[in-house]
């Protein structure tokens, strides 16, 4: 449905040249919801804006359906208003001089050949019902709350039945509680109308709950692409692993003897991993909370059990965060149930279930 290949984009500003997209490829299947996920400045919004036609790509091909909409090499650039898209902006961009009805009717009003009045009425009302705003038809748009603006923006984006729905950080302007509600509604709505959607977010929870597939971006490239489960379970890059959750990132060094033995830098602990490493090679180890269990009893025979003591306990109601000091300045954060009577200073043992997908060759970069 949407195919992007070899996309690059450089901005020239008085401060210098800034290449924000360094050649990315991805494909969104018909009816899929696809997320571009990454930290701010990773190029995800620029990618979306290139797909929309709000930015001119420097090179690469963008195809929506059967139509090539952007291909600088052959001089093809379909302007934004001729692309079969609907878009929800980060600020919602609700036009203040038009009321709710007219905001949503706008895409139909500017359509040629003209859409009949009765049909406009009918389609706007249908879109309003989809977003649960049918009671606000003639409300002045300057008198809408953030959540209501979001709904109007969504209705406006889908009213002309676009081939592709684009959403730029659609939930980031809402407060936390409303964001959860709107996330569910947005997911339901996209599923119900079965539209192909591409959206940009920096929030992994948003990407996980809405997207069929996710491309994780960093510094202008896609570092990993896959289903939410693949990305979470088998990250191919420490950046991805770190970005996916509140993971612990540590550095280590392959022992001279090899055989998958890794010394944790700064401690006298070592781990065993089923991975071929050069002797002395630097590695980074990413440990997600659910890989770790904490115990007060030593289990000397087991593999990958680290001994330490509790440096800090942070009570969080149903659960606690426990920082286990392993030596040097290395701490491991482990979540534990809130009703355990652990105490600060107590000796504990952390066992690591599996190191599969947790060890990466190379030093842990400061960016992670």
């Amino acid at each position: 449905m949407l195919v992007v290949s070899g996309l690059t984009k450089t901005f020239n500003s008085p401060e210098g040249r800034n290449t924000v997209i360094k050649g990315i490829d991805f494909e969104v299947k018909e009816g899929d919801c696809y997320a571009l996920l990454g930290p701010s400045g990773c190029g995800k919004t620029t990618t979306l804006r290139c797909v929309a036609g709000l930015e001119h790509a420097d090179s690469g091909v963008i195809r929506i359906g059967d139509q090539v909409v952007s291909d600088p090499a052959s001089g093809i650039f379909v302007p934004v208003h001729q692309r079969p898209i609907g878009m929800v902006f980060q600020s919602y961009a609700i036009w203040p001089h038009l009321d709710v009805f007219e905001n949503i009717a706008y895409p139909l009003r500017v359509q040629r050949p003209r859409v009949a009045k009765a049909e406009i009425e009918e389609r706007v009302m249908a879109a309003l019902r989809l977003v649960n705003m049918q009671d606000y038809v003639r409300r002045a748009s300057t008198r809408l709350s953030g959540g209501q603006q979001q709904r109007v923006a969504l209705a406006r984006a889908i009213v002309r039945n676009p081939t592709l729905l684009l959403l730029d950080e659609p939930l980031s302007n809402l407060d936390a509680r409303l964001r959860d509600t709107m996330r569910k509604e947005l997911g339901d709505l996209i599923a119900r109308i079965g539209i192909t959607a591409l959206f940009v977010t920096h929030d992994q929870a948003e990407a996980f709950s809405l997207a069929h597939r996710i491309a994780v971006m960093n510094q202008g490239v896609i570092v990993q692409e896959g289903t939410p489960r693949e990305i979470y379970r088998t990250p191919t890059d420490p950046f991805v692993a770190f970005f996916m959750g509140s993971a612990n990132v540590m550095s280590g060094q392959a022992a001279p003897a090899g055989a998958g033995q890794i010394t944790l830098t700064g401690t006298d602990h070592y781990l065993h991993a089923d991975i071929a490493l050069e002797p002395g090679e630097s590695v980074s180890i990413v440990l997600r909370p659910e890989q770790l269990t904490l115990s007060r009893d030593a289990a000397p025979a087991a593999r990958n059990v680290l001994e330490g003591h509790i440096a800090r306990l942070t009570y969080q109601g149903g659960s606690m965060e426990c920082d286990v000091h392993l030596g040097g300045d290395v701490n491991l954060r482990v979540p534990i149930p809130g009703d355990l009577d652990f105490e600060k200073g107590m000796p504990v043992w952390v066992s690591i279930q599996s190191l599969e997908g947790s060890v990466f060759r190379g030093k842990a970069s400061p960016a992670t």
């Binding site: 302007p79 609907g86 878009m87 980060q90 600020s91 961009a93 036009w95 706008y106 923006a153």
Partner: protein, 572 residues
């Protein structure tokens, strides 16, 4: 506040002083004006023995056919023409600088700003040297290129000439307001239209213009008001062309060709124009409110996408070039040339005769140094009073819950709507009636010109809004009295805002012509008035020398303005 707590005297007294000064600067003179309009006979001051209540002034003024055959039509044509041309130039320039890919936008920005800083008599004299029917440079050039015989073909002394000159002078101010408007528009508004399937032209028509409309309308209303009260160019250019606008008419009642000044008549004719000014202010306020409502994220400036001009860029450069030539470059050149060579034609041969005699002439005269001193002192104290009062009023409006704060807000805002010629008249009547020796000194100029507190109040209020009131409460919780909290916490934080207000009023003060002319005496002469006198006495070289001096004196203010005033103004 606990009613048993000791009342902090400073908190009560200091802002109240500000409010009283504001009333003294604005309400008292205006009240005096209204009172005078109903006192007669005409050449009597309102409290003079023998003066009594009468409708004669109003009857005489409004029965005069000249009002309907000359003053109203001339004023109407002058205002409409100027507003139309100014709006066109200002919006076009603002759009080119803010939204197009025009090159060297910084240089154009400074060039467009120039007429805002120079006293209008300087520009007026330069335009007479350029476009005078007999010896104007541009006319000479046209005559020699096309072989016309003089005089003409252009004549600055005409309604068209007056409108063009006034528009050149008014454009920078409106331009500044329009750039702020353009910058405040969320570009996603336009992008959303494109993503809805609307072409760029349709987007401009159906989204850009309607969304910007209130923000464009507000400066247009303001420039209508400003043009209505214009006095300088109607006097210098309009009078020889026998154009008779209302501001000049008031001046004429006070300085008649023969006979005694007609205080009552001047006051009477001021009243309807004062009401017109207030009406414009109400409309302005409505437009501003709507514009605020339209700014979805208030006060935020967006980085605008620049639109490629393509072939239109030649037209854009041509328009900017013509404006810069007429408003900046040629005036500067003709003044410098005339100061060195008088009316000699601008040829290389004549350059050999250049002489600094005119400068020696002007600067050798003690009046010149007195005028320099007076100009700077008046500008400085005017700025000081206006900034201080503005800060106190800003505090009352933003921080206090005093019942009178709405009235204070209105009073400060109203000062924008009072034409300076009417202020000068009111202050004149007031201080002639209260004979304590202020009349004829520079202090009357300072008291008159300090009525401009709308801008400083607004700047101070906006500055205070950005200082979280918890910062003040934290000082109080640390044991600081109100006054020490203000002096140690608020004033230092507010200083950049106060500074920008001070510089703004100082620049306006150095340009002031109307008030010092109406209230002038040999003792309180300022540079623009001295310039006007030299020019009227038929001394082209000395007046050009003085004009050149003034020009170089205000030149550094471009940098002050760009550094301190404009960033703040666009952030508001």
């Amino acid at each position: 506040m606990n009613s048993l707590a000791k009342v902090d005297i400073g908190q009560r007294v200091v802002p109240l002083i500000g409010a009283l000064v504001a009333v003294f600067l604005i309400a008292v003179p205006v009240g005096m004006l209204f009172y005078s309009a109903f006192r007669g006979p005409a050449d009597y001051l309102p409290f003079e023995p023998g003066a009594q209540f009468t409708f004669d002034n109003l009857i005489q003024i409004f029965n005069d056919p000249v009002l309907y055959t000359r003053i109203l039509p001339d004023t109407l044509i002058f205002v409409c023409g100027t507003v139309a041309l100014t709006t066109f130039l200002a919006f076009t320039f603002a759009w080119l600088i803010e939204r197009s890919d025009i090159k060297a936008s910084d240089v154009w920005f400074s060039l467009i700003l120039f007429p805002l800083l120079v006293p209008i008599p300087v520009l007026a004299i330069a335009w007479i040297f350029l476009l005078g029917p007999n010896a104007g440079w541009i006319n000479l050039a046209i005559q020699s290129i096309f072989g016309f015989e003089g005089p003409g073909p252009l004549n600055v002394f005409s309604m068209t000439g007056l409108i063009v000159c006034q528009s050149l002078a008014s454009t920078p101010f409106v331009f500044l307001l329009m750039t702020a408007t353009l910058r405040s528009m969320n570009p996603q508004m336009e992008e959303a239209s494109g993503a809805s399937g609307a072409s760029p032209f349709k987007t401009f028509r159906k989204i850009t213009l309607p969304v910007l409309l209130p923000g464009i309308l507000a400066p247009v209303i303001l420039v209508t008001l400003i043009t209505l009260e214009q006095f300088e160019l109607p006097l210098i250019i309009g009078l020889p062309a026998r154009i008779n606008v209302f501001a000049y008419r008031i001046f004429n009642e006070l300085n008649p060709a023969s006979g005694l000044p007609n205080y009552g008549g001047a006051a009477a004719i001021s009243i309807p124009f004062l009401f017109l000014g207030m009406l414009a202010l109400v409309l302005y306020n409505m437009a501003i409110r709507r514009a605020d409502k339209f700014a979805v994220v208030t006060g935020k400036a967006y980085r605008q996408k620049q639109i490629a001009l393509g072939r239109w860029k030649y037209a854009a450069y041509a328009l900017l070039g013509v404006y810069s030539a007429l408003a900046v470059i040629l005036p500067a050149l003709v003044l410098m040339w005339t100061s060195l060579l008088g009316y000699a034609a601008p040829t290389l041969d004549n350059l050999a005769n250049a002489s600094l005699a005119a400068y020696r002439d002007v600067m050798g005269n003690a009046v010149f140094w007195k005028a320099v001193f007076n100009t700077l002192v008046v500008a400085f104290f005017t700025a000081l009073i206006s900034t201080t009062v503005g800060a106190l009023l800003g505090w009352i409006i933003a921080r206090s819950n005093w019942w009178g704060r709405k009235g204070i807000d209105f009073l400060s805002f109203m000062s924008t709507g009072i034409p300076s010629v009417i202020v000068a008249l009111s202050v004149m009547i007031l201080w002639l009636s209260v004979p304590i020796g202020i009349y004829g000194t520079i202090w009357i100029l300072i008291l008159a010109a300090s009525y401009r507190i709308a801008a400083t109040t607004r700047i101070a209020r906006a500055g205070l809004m950005q200082i979280h009131s918890e910062l003040e409460e934290a000082s109080a919780a640390s044991g600081g009295k109100w006054l020490s909290t203000q002096l140690r916490i608020v004033v230092p934080l507010l200083l950049p805002a106060l500074m920008s207000g001070f510089i703004l009023i100082f620049i306006i003060g150095t340009r002031e012509f109307t008030i010092p002319l109406v209230l002038h005496s040999p003792d309180n002469i300022v540079l623009p008035v001295l310039l006007w006198q030299l020019f009227q006495n038929g001394q082209p070289a000395p007046s050009a020398a003085l004009a050149t001096f003034i020009m170089f004196m205000v030149f550094p203010m471009i940098f002050l303005a760009r550094r301190y005033i404009i960033p703040r103004q666009s952030a508001e």
